[in-house]
Symmetry: C2
Subunit: 136 residues, 2 copies
């Protein structure tokens, strides 16, 4: 039954995450910490991010590129990704929150968390698909 220790590195990481209003990837988080403490190690960043995630302090986002992005966990909003620009937009929907909890409940589960990303294209623009494929 090991216990968790509060260290200067974790305090720094927490403050960096707290000051970040975007959705930084690990490398970016690492650079921001390093700017405040040159001795910061990326290994510790990974370890502490993982720890913070386990404790529910932060949330890991997957935006399709191969790298994890993080933000302080706010269960009250989700994300919409502009497929053209890659820009991330946040949105809140009580109705959605309620519905998701309801669905979990109907299936006999207590909702732990959810992960929703909506992908969309700015209205007015048209998709340009350069090829077509038919199977069979």
């Amino acid at each position: 039954m090991m216990d968790i220790r509060m260290t200067s590195q974790r305090r720094l990481l927490a403050s960096v995450l707290n000051e970040s209003n975007d959705h930084p990837d690990v490398e970016t988080i690492y650079q921001r910490c390093k700017a405040k403490d040159e001795s910061t190690s990326i290994a510790s960043i990974y370890r502490s991010l993982s720890l913070f995630e386990d404790t529910g302090l932060i949330e890991k986002l997957d935006m399709g590129d191969g790298k994890a992005r993080f933000e302080i966990k706010r269960t009250d909003h989700d994300h919409l990704l502009d497929v053209e620009t890659g820009q991330i937009h946040e949105f809140k929907s009580q109705e959605l929150q309620r519905l998701i909890k309801e669905i979990a409940d109907e299936m006999g589960f207590d909702l732990t968390e959810h992960r929703l990303e909506i992908y969309g294209r700015k209205q007015g623009r048209t998709a340009c698909r350069c090829y077509e494929i038919k199977i069979y």
Copy 2:
């Protein structure tokens, strides 16, 4: 303006995906193809999965472990993950589908697709967190 060719390998991959009612990862898909054609290369599996995804034939799922999972795209259902067992449950919700489209629309976007995973614990069980952490 390159065009796409239908090859025996892609036909095989498509049939394997079609016969899969679970959510196999790349390694599993590779093994299933290999069982039918020993000469199957994992590089081609990756290439063709990526192609199929681009064309909208299949859907990539991210279940939190570091590996991508795939299934034939059915826009009519989403997934609930049992955090205790790792088991994936599918569910359908018209209301959810409608709401997501509505949200995108309200934000000025045409919905391209969405990705939703609900995480839950079977009702009745209690979470066992082995530690507690306080920041500040």
